[in-house]
Symmetry: C2
Subunit: 355 residues, 2 copies
DNA sequence: CTGAAAGCGCTTACAG
DNA sequence: CTGAAAGCGCTTACAG
């Protein structure tokens, strides 16, 4: 435990430039009130010495507080998907609160555009220093973004992306590619002569075609294959009660008796698993998304073969740190941050780390 | 950007206890020289107020430096596996160097027990504040550990574990389970009548039976299956030059013409891939470990079907933070930190995040 | 436009 | 055994 290695301090720069530390601070933070000449001189020395600010000292001296606002769908139960990004956000919060960061949540209802608009108003009123948002409703999201930009508040997209916006970063998956992965896995498991079924729960559809992209990636995989192409049928369900879904599945399986693989494009694979269990179907491979408890149960029992996961906790964690790095640490951030597309199965589920 | 929320400071405790902050600091850090009575009083108030030290201020005021020593196999080329844990360690280093943490590396040669012993001597001489080590040679590792314990230096195991030691943490995979996962994947891809081959590169064997555990997990999976059991044959190769390996593979495939799946228990799957390519074998599923460049190449070309990965960068990163959290942040750490067992394939390799 | 001083919460000698 | 003071590198008014 020797003495600390000496690093370049503001004081050193001030000395070398023949000015006071106050002046150095002014050019460092662009606070003006410095003559062009001294500014140049100081800037030159800063560069020469490769000065790195001590963010510990900076944070300690500063009495600034930062408020990060999170604008995401409300998790309806403790098992809901959106709890997972929140877990990651909360972990990051614990680590950066010593830097004066507060987090406030603004929820909306996925199925209620109105709640999105209402909640967004409160978000803007909050006047946060940074925002993480899931831009579910396209037009309305762009409206929010405009206002954030007007107030020069940086924002990060999570889960869904809107192209060509001025977001600091997008953190989420590549839906197209995850569909392709699902296709590949079923292609490996189900012999070529059999058919596959895509189940799309339409209610969950958002403006951004998240789920459609998964479906497109899936079908594109088979379109690219050589003849004879595998038969893929599709079911769009409105996510009604079980008996409705079961009827829909009965119908389509009756018409296509060679369906041996089912791909559910969202986290509701457990609903299809329940159907398979009830009908006691033996040789159907089922693949879905997200390690929520109900899915995990059927993965362990063997009815769901694979779950594709996207480390939602990590997404929340990274989104929070993206704001932190930009606003407080003043480090570079990356604009497109695609999450891993993970394959979870019975054999690795117990070790799957989402954070 | 409001004023910072007031938190409990040493000053507050001192005031409430009617002592100076120096005294509070003494009980906080157990530096002695405090009467039992005042100590009790201060301790009680600390608890009451749920005091959380400000590690920013603490680190700034302290002139302490910390040296973390890393004791791992030397990466022989820029493509070697052990570069990956180092990447993670270096990332952590960048983040915690402002707290006065230095990192020093002590390498050994995986195939040379002597270099392990020699390097370990230098490690001990270094007198670090914390150690991350890959305990490859069992007896020799225990010798190192004894000395670390004598000097009260905390240590973290990475990659390999030794049971029932006083390590702060083990960070690595569950080898048995990763073997089971490999078995499952081949079981899905290769039809039941065909055979499977395990390739064990014996040279890489370490005292700790890392690779044997993978093999055991693999065979145990099939042993548990109902009759008729799948046939699994095994090849132990000394990892000689290509023509030797190719001869070995020729022989075993000639004797077992129905081998349609190969499991390589270490990162050398690319060597078998090269063989498959050369012999132009069409319908053999190959599965191996670790996303090193040579493996990635064959994964993309389709010769390797799956790679099982263990986020080695994350392991290095987490090991470093385990020391940091224990020594500097004084937070709790977990003793067994099993890494995810990830499945990487052509369709998700481009998005696979190891850190 | 510039500098000197106080202070962030903690640690570290030093004096008594 | 205890307290007062200086200092870590930075920020923030304030004086000129």
């Amino acid at each position: 435990m020797n003495k600390k290695k000496s690093t370049i301090r503001i004081k050193d720069i001030a000395q070398k430039a023949g000015v006071s530390i106050g002046t150095v601070d002014r050019v460092l933070h662009n606070r003006g009130e410095v003559s062009e000449a001294t500014k140049e001189k100081v800037l030159k020395i800063i560069k020469e010495l490769n000065y790195q600010p001590n963010i510990l000292a900076s944070s300690l001296a500063s009495k600034k507080n930062y408020n990060f606002a999170i604008f995401i769908p409300k998790p309806l139960t403790s098992e809901s998907y959106w709890n997972k990004p929140m877990t990651g956000i909360e972990k990051a919060r614990g680590e950066i609160q010593q830097y004066g960061v507060n987090i406030s949540y603004h929820f909306f209802d996925l199925f209620d555009k109105n709640s999105f608009v209402e909640s967004s108003k409160k978000l803007i009123e909050d006047d946060p220093q940074g925002v993480i948002l899931a831009p579910y409703f396209l037009k309305e999201s762009i409206e929010v973004i405009r206002q954030l930009e007007q107030q020069e508040i940086p924002y990060v997209f999570i889960d869904s992306n809107i192209k060509e916006q001025a977001q600091l970063s997008y953190i989420g998956q590549n839906s197209l590619q995850s569909g392709a992965l699902a296709a590949r896995l079923l292609d490996l498991c189900v012999s070529k002569q059999e058919s596959l079924l895509i189940v799309n729960f339409a209610n969950d559809q958002d403006n951004l075609n998240h789920l459609n992209q998964r479906k497109d990636g899936f079908t594109a995989y088979f379109d690219k294959q050589e003849e004879p192409k595998r038969k893929v049928v599709s079911l769009k369900s409105n996510d009604q009660e079980d008996h409705v879904l079961h009827k829909e599945l009965d119908d389509i399986l009756d018409k296509n008796k060679d369906i041996k693989g089912i791909y559910v494009t969202n986290s509701k694979a457990h609903r299809v698993a329940k159907y398979i269990e009830k009908r006691n179907l033996k040789d159907i491979f089922l693949i879905g998304y997200d390690l929520i408890p109900e899915n995990a149960k059927h993965l362990r029992s063997g009815i769901i073969e694979f779950l594709i996961c996207q480390r939602p906790e990590e997404q929340g964690y990274n989104a929070t740190y993206t704001l932190f790095n930009h606003i407080i640490a003043r480090k570079e951030t990356i604009k497109e941050n695609y999450t891993s597309i993970d394959i979870v199965t019975k054999e690795n589920v117990d070790y799957y780390k989402e954070l």
